[in-house]
Structure formats: structure tokens, C-alpha cells
Amino acid sequence: MAEHGFYLAMSYAAAALAIVAELIALKVGRARALKHVEEERELEAQD
């Protein structure tokens, strides 16, 4: 395993990193959508 450990580690670490990055992006996207819904509610409350 040691001989090719670097290539295995780089492959699996990149995959894990990509998944974590996507999960964070999903969370950020959801928070942004909720914020926009809230802004819309406030706009309507003002009208």
C-alpha cells in the first residue's frame, strides 16, 4: 500500500473534499433561498 499510498490518498481525499464542498454549497444555497423568502415576506408586510 505504501508504494502507491500517495495516489490512493489523493484520489479518495479529492473525492471526499468535493462531496464536502457540495454539501456546504447545498447548505449555503438553502440559507440564501430562505433569506429571499423572508425578504419577500417583509416586503409584503410593508405593503
Binding site: G5, A15, L26, G29, R32, E40
Partner: protein, 241 residues
């Protein structure tokens, strides 16, 4: 059960919210099983040694990169043909996950290629057409967000997705049509040349990627629905969306 009931964003939104955690949980379980079988149970390859274990992430992500594009193009075609809002939203929701899998497939391929072929990259037909797939995903995402009116973005991006589907058979058959450095398929519908534990690990990982992709698309489509429908009564009526 009337499935057309769930073709409306208002009906699909709560369903997606209930289903997504189950798909993520299934993905985690399958990935744990696949990695255990791949790293602990599966034997060392007689020719490549340990480095062949990249296969358990490379092949499933490569499969998913093509499969997600196919599903995305189908949703795009539905959106173009029937002007259905949810189909266009699903196509948008799938694109980033498809791009992520394509990137991982290319990256892991590079780190598998270096010790086996002696190079990280070669302009081989299979690898180049997979890179074109990544650019198609980027193009879809850019085009979908290029218009102020999201419905116009949907139509333009859907058209690109449908046209881009021509790249899928090129990726799949590239190893047969051209003399490539990339090896041919180890798994076919008629059988496999792999050891049964290797094949099981790879299929478990493929299922894990599949479940993850569905979970991620469901979470993303919920955000898209909220953004698009935020002026509608049903979204404003949501207590804690």
C-alpha cells in the same frame, strides 16, 4: 397514487424534504460497505498491486457523470416539450452534482494513470470526451444562470443539454472506436472480467454515488423551488420552510 400530483413544485417540495435524508443515509451506508469491501476484503491486483483500488471511486463517479447527464437531458427535453417547471428545475438541480462527479472521475483517473501509464494526462479519446462532458456541465450551469428571466435560462440550458447528449455514446464507445490508452470496459451487461469481491465493492460504491446524487438533487431542487416560487401564496404560507 397519482404521480402527476408530484409534478407541481408545491407538492414536490415537501416530498423532496422527506426523501432526501433517507437517500443520504443510504449513500453513507452503501459507501461504508463498499469501502470496507474494497479496502479490506478485495484482494490485491496481481498486475497493478494496490493502486487498482482507485477503481472503487473512479469507475462509479465516471458512470454517474454520464448517467446524471442523461437524466438531466431527459428532464431538459421534458421541459422543452411540455414547458414543465419542475423538469427544468430538476435539470438545474442535477447539473452541479454531475459536474462534481465528472471532475472526480477525471481527477482520480489522473492519479490512477500516473503510476500505471506513467502520465497524469493524455489527450486520449475517452479522457478528452469526458473533459468535454465537464465543459458541457459548466456550459449548462452558465447558460441557465445567464438570463434575468429564469424560464429563458431553462429553455436555453435544456437545449444545450439535449444537444450535448451526443457526447455520451462518444465517451462510452471511444475505447472501441479509437485506439486509446484507456482500457476497455471491465463490466458489461453480459458479464465481468473482475474478481467477485472487486465487482461487489465497485457496485456498492456506484449505488452509494447514485443515492448521494438523488439526495443532493432533492436538496438543491428544494432551494430552487423556494427561490422561484417565493412570491407564491404556498411558499409564504410555509411556517418554517
Amino acid at each position: 397514487m397519482n404521480f402527476f400530483y408530484f409534478s407541481s413544485p408545491a407538492s414536490f417540495y415537501p416530498l423532496a424534504g422527506r426523501l432526501a435524508p433517507w437517500f443520504f443515509a443510504l449513500a453513507a451506508l452503501l459507501a461504508a460497505g463498499g469501502l470496507y469491501a474494497g479496502f479490506v476484503v478485495a484482494p490485491t491486483d496481481a498486475v497493478q498491486g494496490e493502486v487498482y483500488r482507485v477503481i472503487f471511486i473512479h469507475v462509479p463517479t465516471a458512470w454517474m457523470s454520464m448517467f446524471i447527464y442523461f437524466v438531466m437531458a431527459c428532464y431538459g427535453a421534458l421541459a422543452l416539450a411540455f414547458n414543465s417547471r419542475l423538469s427544468a428545475m430538476m435539470a438545474r438541480a442535477l447539473a452541479p452534482t454531475g459536474a462534481m462527479f465528472t471532475f472526480v472521475a477525471l481527477w482520480t483517473g489522473a492519479f490512477w494513470g500516473r503510476p500505471t501509464w506513467g502520465t497524469y494526462w493524455v489527450w486520449d479519446a475517452r479522457i478528452t470526451s469526458e473533459l468535454v462532458l465537464l465543459f458541457l456541465y459548466f456550459g449548462f450551469i452558465a447558460l441557465a444562470n445567464a438570463f434575468e428571466d429564469p424560464r429563458r435560462g431553462d429553455r436555453a440550458a435544456s437545449l444545450l443539454a439535449v444537444i450535448g447528449i451526443v457526447n455520451l455514446p462518444i465517451i462510452y464507445f471511444s475505447v472501441q472506436w479509437w485506439n486509446t490508452l484507456h482500457q476497455g470496459s471491465s463490466v458489461r451487461l453480459t458479464g465481468s472480467s473482475m474478481h467477485v469481491t472487486m465487482l461487489t465493492s465497485m457496485l456498492l460504491m456506484a449505488l452509494a454515488c447514485w443515492m448521494y446524487a438523488i439526495g443532493a438533487a432533492l436538496v438543491r431542487v428544494r432551494s430552487i423551488i423556494l427561490e422561484r416560487e417565493r412570491r407564491t401564496r404556498w411558499v409564504r404560507a410555509l411556517g418554517a420552510p
